[in-house]
């Protein structure tokens, strides 16, 4: 058997099966969608016909059974429902399975289709109860009610199929397929449905006539549309032939190309880019004008070629989304949910390899949403939502990235439930879990070993968790983030760079080696002059960039080398990860170059700070920095948030505007608890070395501006009798004053400044809480602290040492 023929057969069948699947899901919703029904029938019909020709008898049998059922639907003898759709989808799957075996081995192999066939037969048997079969074909009014229709002249031809093994009563009533013998001279087009469009466009036939002809077909007329129209006198033969010719030429304006060929092309272009880089480099050094011009031309041509080849690999995201209606349908049925899937941005284009890479993660996230995110109709009704849940997929381009959002209006993610599960699964300890705020707790679902399925469901629980999703997405340079509101829903946002293989990058040097930093991550390049220095804020190096504080990472330290001297003249690359900026100190900054990303081998693929490598113009190898990886491994992102908050505080304190006396400062205490203090009671933020803290009686105090200032440590550790102060070398203190007296509130980090927060007062007028981010935060009253520290305003004097 000719491999090429089988190969083509397989390609066509798989494509047809995709359309079949989509069509079936649509039909279940809108059973009277005649064009879809016709298409679905036609697909199965074609598959069946070709299998017989290629001698794939099992395949043929299954396709035949499915086709029989479909023809009953087409003739409106029976109506489509969930059971039938399930059976037809199962048929689709079975055909896929057999095709898979053919693809692998060239032969059908053996597959147990007995159950499926029995089901299909049983469903077809419904027709027995649906009325007189013999009349169906001859009905003048095919249930359509359109009296214009002259039902096709041919009577039902009951032809026993030569390969048919099991004659069934139903079969005989079918409009059995037979090869069209066209009586008139000359060929007529085979792509009937579309020719109708061409004819209408050309003005050769009226839209209504075409629709009538199509309706006739769906009632069992086997003639091609062109033929029907000519026979009915609704179109001229010459026009129909012209339309057919048009169709054929339209069909040949695109060709099928083996994906491997395209990949090979892509690789070659990659190599060309490398050579081009070398030549351009040499041309730059060579003063020879004769060389410069062709080199420049080569440069331009290579860029254009690169762009064109990239385009060949771009495919709309719809190609992977098209499978989702079925997935959502099946899962919804499985879990007893009702879900409406809305997709926006299907035409957003992505590189083929990216599509491959995100297919599974996306499917997994959707499975999670259907399984855990959206509630059952009963629960939804109980909380006042519509029983049908909505799952929205939105894809769009933004800058050099593609954004994909998965939004549901389900139950949201319960941070407490996550905390409990995380502790149960030993992902974190109970203390760590308690110490986390809700946002951090929700991020736990991305940890390995975490799965929210309390029982291993065979859909989303088994071994594949959100950690794999995140890893796969990050592996291609993307990111995934999650926002959720308990009770209202969840949204996943996936960001992916548009093209993988060739990117512009800035080359930097560190310890004599060159590294590439992808340009999209770079915000700006800064060189420190004498006036600027890297400062130290609570142990973290920070650089004041205009009026923002930028946390600094020393690349040398990150690469486990001797730390850099952070002095003036240092080169800083300001990077941006997820909206947060930080500065990377490097030895030197070279040029911008277009580099070809070569993936790291399996052995080193999961390196935390490098995402690939490239060959430079001179043949040396340069590693490509993974900016997110560097941010994570240096811990700068955590520092960044804290630094920003502190900077904000400083700005507030420095400003001379009167604060609304309800503006509060939210701080985190050692041990994770949060409290707030009225901002107008705050003087400044200080930090002290631990050694400077002394004991006076029962209280910790510190010498501050010539006076002795008591310290208040409100954290839970302190409450339990311990002191968090000992753990760090320096202690952060928010200096507050009430009247002439100051007290230092020991804090772990500055979190936020909130103006006009909602304040609730408890029964006791001294106890107030603020609502921040939906959480309750205790408002600390300085006078109270002083009092509880045993310091009455009048007693202050006696504390002097």
């Amino acid at each position: 058997m000719d491999d090429e023929i089988i190969g083509e057969f397989l390609v066509e069948c798989f494509e047809g099966l995709d359309r079949l699947e989509q069509g079936l899901v649509v039909l279940e919703e809108t059973p009277d969608d005649t064009p879809t029904l016709t298409e679905v029938f036609r697909i199965l019909h074609t598959i069946k016909g070709t299998c017989g020709f290629l001698d794939f008898s099992q395949l043929e049998t299954v396709a035949h059974r499915g086709e029989s059922l479909l023809s009953l639907l087409r003739d409106q003898v029976i109506e489509i429902d969930e059971e039938i759709t399930d059976a037809l989808l199962a048929t689709n799957d079975a055909i896929r399975e057999i095709l898979g075996t053919i693809e692998q081995t060239g032969a059908e192999g053996t597959h147990d289709m007995a159950e499926l066939i029995a089901t299909l037969e049983a469903l077809s048997a419904r027709a027995d109860h649906a009325g007189d079969l013999a009349d169906v074909a001859g009905e003048a009014d095919g249930g359509d009610g359109d009296s214009d229709i002259q039902v096709a002249a041919e009577p039902v031809e009951v032809e026993a199929e030569p390969v048919e093994v099991e004659p069934e009563p139903i079969e005989q009533a079918e409009h059995v397929e037979h090869v069209e013998s066209v009586e008139s001279d000359g060929p007529l087009p085979t792509e009937d449905q579309r020719i109708g469009d061409v004819l209408v466009e050309d003005g050769s036939a009226a839209r209504t006539d075409v629709e009538v002809a199509a309706a006739e077909q769906s009632l069992g007329d086997e003639r091609p549309i062109g033929r029907i129209l000519v026979d009915e006198g609704r179109a001229e033969r010459a026009d129909v032939e012209a339309a057919a010719a048009k169709q054929r030429s339209a069909a040949s304006s695109s060709i099928r190309v083996d994906v491997e060929v395209l990949d090979g092309l892509m690789n070659l272009v990659g190599e060309l880019v490398l050579s081009r880089n070398q030549i351009v480099q040499l041309a730059g050094l060579d003063r020879n004008v004769d060389f410069a011009a062709p080199a420049q031309r080569l440069n331009l041509l290579t860029s254009e070629l690169q762009e064109s080849v990239m385009k060949t690999r771009m495919q709309p995201i719809g190609t992977i989304w098209n499978k989702l209606p079925r997935v959502v349908r099946d899962l919804s049925n499985q879990f007893g949910k009702r879900i409406r899937l809305e997709m926006e941005g299907k035409e957003t284009e992505l590189d083929r390899t990216i599509l491959e890479a995100i297919k599974d993660p996306l499917t997994h996230m959707i499975r999670n949403t259907v399984d855990h995110g959206i509630e059952t109709p009963e629960r939804r009704a109980a909380v006042g939502k519509e029983t049908e849940g909505v799952l929205r997929l939105i894809a769009s381009h933004e800058g050099g990235q593609v954004n994909i959002e998965i939004i549901d209006d389900g139950a949201g993610i319960d941070a407490d439930a996550i905390r409990r599960l995380a502790v149960e699964k030993r992902v974190v300890s109970a203390e760590q879990a308690d110490a986390m705020n809700d946002q951090a707790a929700i991020q736990l679902i991305f940890r390995p070993g975490f799965s929210t399925a309390s029982s291993v469901s065979n859909v989303s629980g088994r071994g594949v968790g959100m950690d794999v999703v995140r890893t796969n997405i990050e592996r291609i340079g993307g990111s995934v983030d999650i926002k959720t509101t308990l009770g209202a829903g969840t949204s996943f946002k996936v960001k992916i760079p548009l093209t993988l293989a060739i990117i512009p990058a800035i080359i930097i040097r560190c310890d004599g080696n060159r590294y590439a930093i992808p340009q999209p991550s770079i915000q700006e390049l800064v060189r420190l002059d004498e006036n600027q220095r890297i400062e130290d804020v609570h142990g973290a190096p920070v650089y004041r960039l205009r009026d923002r504080l930028l946390p600094i990472v020393d690349l040398r330290s990150e690469l486990c080398l001797e730390p850099s001297q952070l002095t003036s003249g240092s080169n800083v690359v300001v990077l941006n990860v997820d909206g947060r900026s930080f500065g990377l100190v490097v030895d030197a900054i070279d040029d911008t170059e277009e580099i070809v990303i070569k993936p790291l081998g399996r052995t080193v693929r999961d390196n935390p700070v490098f995402s690939g490598a490239t060959v430079m113009g001179d043949g040396s190898v340069a590693l490509i920095l993974d900016v997110t990886g560097v941010a994570v491994s240096s811990g700068v992102m955590n520092a960044a948030a804290a630094v920003e908050a502190e900077a904000a505080l400083e700005r507030e304190l420095a400003s001379t505007t009167q604060h609304d006396d309800r503006t509060i400062l939210v701080v985190g205490l050692n041990g994770g608890q949060r409290v707030a203090v009225a901002l107008d009671q705050v003087d400044r933020l200080e930090d002290f070395p631990t050694e400077s803290i002394e004991w006076s009686g029962h209280r910790q105090v510190v010498q501050y501006r010539g006076e002795v200032m008591p310290l208040a440590d409100l954290g839970p550790l302190a409450a339990r009798g311990g002191s968090a102060i000992d753990t760090d070398e320096r202690v952060s203190v928010v200096v507050c004053s009430a009247g002439d007296h100051a007290v230092g509130l020991v804090v772990d980090e500055i979190l936020d400044i909130v103006s006009k927060p909602e304040i609730q007062r408890g029964g006791d007028e001294h106890v107030a809480t603020a609502v921040v981010d939906g959480e309750l935060v205790d408002l600390v009253d300085i006078a109270e602290i002083l009092a509880s520290a045993g310091i009455q305003i009048a007693d202050h004097v006696s504390l002097g040492v």
Partner: protein
């Protein structure tokens, strides 16, 4: 252990200190006398770095580290690279000296001796008893799988 019909095998051999190692010639893509190795920070010690192999980037594995061979003090020789294909990728193995291509017969084949250090034994498929020495046949897939080894050691 694959072999020709007459039970004889062609092995590409090389030295690590005084260890004689061999790989079936059919698995060896090429030998490179010297190459610039770009180190990869934050990678396992068994990974020496990356080399440029005609425009393709190949990971280089330090066989000494893999087999637990202590570097000898007179490390004058520039190491050579034995490039193999494993898992669809090119991987280069850093060795001290390249030996000859030897044809050995199945009758000389023996499983690894029990006295062998386990780091070496784990990565050896079998041995051939030659006149003067023992030729160890390397298990290339296991050798290249540095990640698995790292987790095993850490466990």
């Amino acid at each position: 252990m694959n072999s020709n019909d007459n039970g004889r095998v062609l092995l590409c051999t090389f030295w690590l200190d005084d260890l004689l190692l061999g790989i079936d010639v059919r698995d060896v893509q090429e030998i490179i006398r010297s190459a610039d190795i770009t180190p990869i920070p934050h990678s396992p010690p068994a990974v020496a770095g990356l080399i440029n192999l005609r425009g393709q980037i190949a990971t280089t594995i330090d066989l000494r580290d893999r087999l637990g061979v202590v570097p000898s003090s007179d490390d004058e020789d520039v190491p050579s690279h034995v490039v193999v294909r494993s898992g669809g990728e090119q991987v280069s193995l850093l060795v001290d000296r390249i030996g000859e291509v030897l044809e050995v017969g199945a009758e000389l084949y023996e499983p690894p001796p029990v006295t062998m250090r386990h780091e070496v034994a784990d990565l050896i498929v079998g041995t051939y008893k030659l006149t003067d020495e023992l030729l160890l046949v390397v298990d290339v897939p296991r050798l290249v799988d540095v990640a698995a080894a790292t987790t095993e050691d850490a466990a």
